[in-house]
């Protein structure tokens, strides 16, 4: 019994250390975003919201924030639609080359970002479509669709294979069944996918930096401010970006986990 208790304390301490390791940089960024000193040193100066004021009065930041918002929302919608179609195809149909189809569908996140970014730049330039807002949307959709597919596929795997036939049996055509059974059943995962892909797109830097040209997103602007000089307003922007992303990810997690635990028709 005593050993058990000791072990639990050790494990709890270890877990706390891991979380500290992961979150300390973000916490530091949060703390220094309210610190009056220009350089991130201890002891801290006084509390200030100047960096937020400065960051949010910068039209370039607003411009980038608006673009990030547009890119991430449009990306989320398109990637989720593609992900849903791919996941449903996998759930419903058996065909030759299905394994290859699945591997190809889930491949993009395994490609190093720099490679993907360069390839995207090269490809989009061929159509004179680089350096536009839509270029970022196209590139991010490629990157995000596999995440959407994975999330929706997980939900579909919990669907009783008789659920659709049951709807047909009660007089619903295939399209009506899609609308009144498949989509309601997968809705939590569709919303989770929208949040998750929006978060990925909102945060993504490497691909955006390559293909965005003058149409910068928030992460690109942060890097540009940083390369110029050391400016605590990046802490302010970073904290704001982190809050947006973590909110989306938490919503996605709650929807995916919450439903996964619920027992379905057995």
């Amino acid at each position: 019994m005593k050993d058990d208790k000791l072990l639990r304390w050790v494990l709890a301490f270890y877990t706390a250390l891991v979380f500290l390791f992961v979150f300390a940089p973000i916490a530091a960024s949060l703390v220094f975003s309210f610190n009056s000193d220009r350089f991130p040193t201890i002891p801290l100066g006084t509390f200030t919201t100047d960096w937020y004021v400065k960051a949010f009065s910068n039209p370039e930041v607003w411009d980038a924030a608006l673009r990030s918002l547009i890119v991430s929302s449009v990306t989320a919608v398109i990637a989720t639609a593609i992900g849903f179609s791919a996941a449903y195809t996998d759930y419903r149909y058996d065909f030759r080359g299905k394994k290859a189809f699945l591997v190809l569908s889930l491949l993009p996140p395994t490609i190093p970002l720099i490679i993907l970014a360069l390839a995207m730049l090269g490809w989009l330039s061929m159509f004179h479509a680089s350096g536009l807002t839509i270029s970022i949307i196209i590139a991010h959709t490629v990157l995000c669709a596999p995440f959407a597919m994975a999330v929706i596929r997980l939900r579909l795997s919990q669907m009783d294979p008789n659920l659709e036939p049951a709807a047909w049996n009660l007089g619903a055509s295939e399209w009506v069944t899609m609308k009144s059974v498949v989509i309601p059943f997968t809705l939590p995962s569709i919303i989770a996918s929208l949040c998750l892909t929006a978060a990925v797109s909102f945060d993504e830097f490497a691909v955006a930096w390559f293909v965005s040209g003058l149409n910068k997103t928030v992460p690109v602007v942060i890097l540009e401010i940083l390369t110029g000089n050391i400016d605590p307003q990046v802490n302010a922007i970073g904290t704001a970006v982190f809050l947006v992303s973590i909110t989306l990810v938490v919503i996605a997690q709650v929807l995916v986990m919450g439903r996964a635990k619920k027992p379905e028709a057995v």
């Binding site: 008789n162 009660l170 619920k262 379905e264 028709a265 057995v266």
Partner: protein, 353 residues
């Protein structure tokens, strides 16, 4: 006379090279409770799914009320089904589940609601209408599934092993619910099951299937007393099967003994016959009656006040005897004990094939 409600006319179903259903011809009469029974893989579920339109016959025709169902989409048929997994819509509450079929038929909201609640009430779960279906018990979910299928007032209801997920005592209760419902509504039930007790307890007629073919169609009594062939006799289980050759005096020589069948067989013929487990009598000393043989007791099994004795006669012949426990007083029942068994020749039924 009008054509029966459902006709299977030379129906064949192949999956690739596998023949799931082999040239099937049978009829389902209006208002009957028909069970399709057989071991797994015998084609009973495929047969039901063809009726619902979830599988297309490879050959042949299925007619419902005189109209061919070939090329009729599942959602255009009026053949609601109760699923083994129930397949309730988990994102709808009990009442909304029941309303689904009515909604697809374009009924307005208030009428749908009224009909759905009526049916839930009728099945004894009126107070659970607004409950999440995942929060209901197995028996309650079962009733929601029944209400959902029946609310559109179909002529025929298909049931695919609907009770297989329930506890034994609930199965008995649901059997009573189903038979009562079928009588009251007077509609046709087609019930797929691998369980003999379910089929025999509820069905007017039972279709026994084996390897994609119909082995026998008949009432529970017909099938039990006069199994058509060895498969049925073995599947039904409570039968003793003897095989032998008819000798010159018209009796059958089997490894277990020589039996007289009252001239039901011709000399020289090889025959198999069955004697049901509950018509075999048992004694400690050799009785003088005809058709007596000896066997050694192996084990026994109680089901309520009945006991089934398992014995072995010469030639590895497995013998089952089913009697009232009371009637065994004074009979020693140690394993290895030799007992004498006899049966009346009128109870011997000759198998074809």
């Amino acid at each position: 006379m009008a054509e029966p409600l459902v006709v299977f006319d030379n129906v064949v179903k192949r999956f690739g090279t596998f023949e799931a259903v082999k040239r099937m011809n049978f009829e389902i009469r209006e208002g009957e409770f028909l069970a399709l029974m057989g071991p797994s893989g015998c084609g009973k579920t495929t047969t039901l799914r063809m009726l619902a339109g979830l599988e297309q016959p490879t050959e042949g025709d299925i007619r419902l009320a005189g109209k061919s169902l070939v090329d009729v989409k599942p959602h255009e048929r009026d053949t609601p089904m109760v699923w083994q997994s129930l397949a309730l819509f988990p994102f709808l509450n009990a009442r909304e589940n029941v309303e689904f079929g009515l909604k697809m038929r374009g009924l307005d909201g208030p009428s749908r609601r009224r009909k759905a609640l009526d049916w839930l009430e009728r099945l004894g779960i009126g107070e659970f209408g607004e409950r999440d279906v995942n929060s209901l018990s197995g028996g309650q979910r079962q009733r929601v599934a029944l209400a959902r299928a029946l609310v559109t007032e179909p002529k025929i209801l298909l049931l695919d092993e609907p009770l297989s997920a329930l506890d034994a005592h609930l199965v008995i209760r649901m059997q009573a619910v189903l038979t009562k419902l079928q009588r009251e509504l007077g509609i046709t039930f087609v019930y797929v099951t691998h369980s003999q007790s379910e089929a025999f307890a509820m069905a007017d007629r039972v279709v026994i299937m084996s390897k994609g073919e119909i082995a026998q169609i008949g009432s529970a009594r017909d099938i039990y007393r006069t199994p058509a062939n060895r498969f049925v006799a073995e599947f039904v289980g409570r039968n003793n099967i003897f095989a032998g050759t008819v000798n010159g005096s018209g009796n059958v020589d089997t490894p277990a003994g020589t039996f007289t069948l009252d001239g039901k067989a011709k000399p020289g013929e090889r025959v198999s016959f069955v004697v049901a487990a509950d018509v075999v009598s048992l004694s400690v000393s050799r009785p003088t009656a005809r058709n007596t043989f000896a066997a050694q007791l192996i084990s026994e099994e109680f089901v309520g006040s009945m006991v089934t004795l398992f014995l072995e006669a010469p030639g590895d012949t497995e013998i089952k005897v089913q009697v009232q426990e009371r009637s065994l007083e004074g009979i020693p029942r140690e394993p290895g004990q030799t007992l004498f068994l006899s049966f009346d020749s009128s109870h011997a039924h000759i198998l074809k094939g």
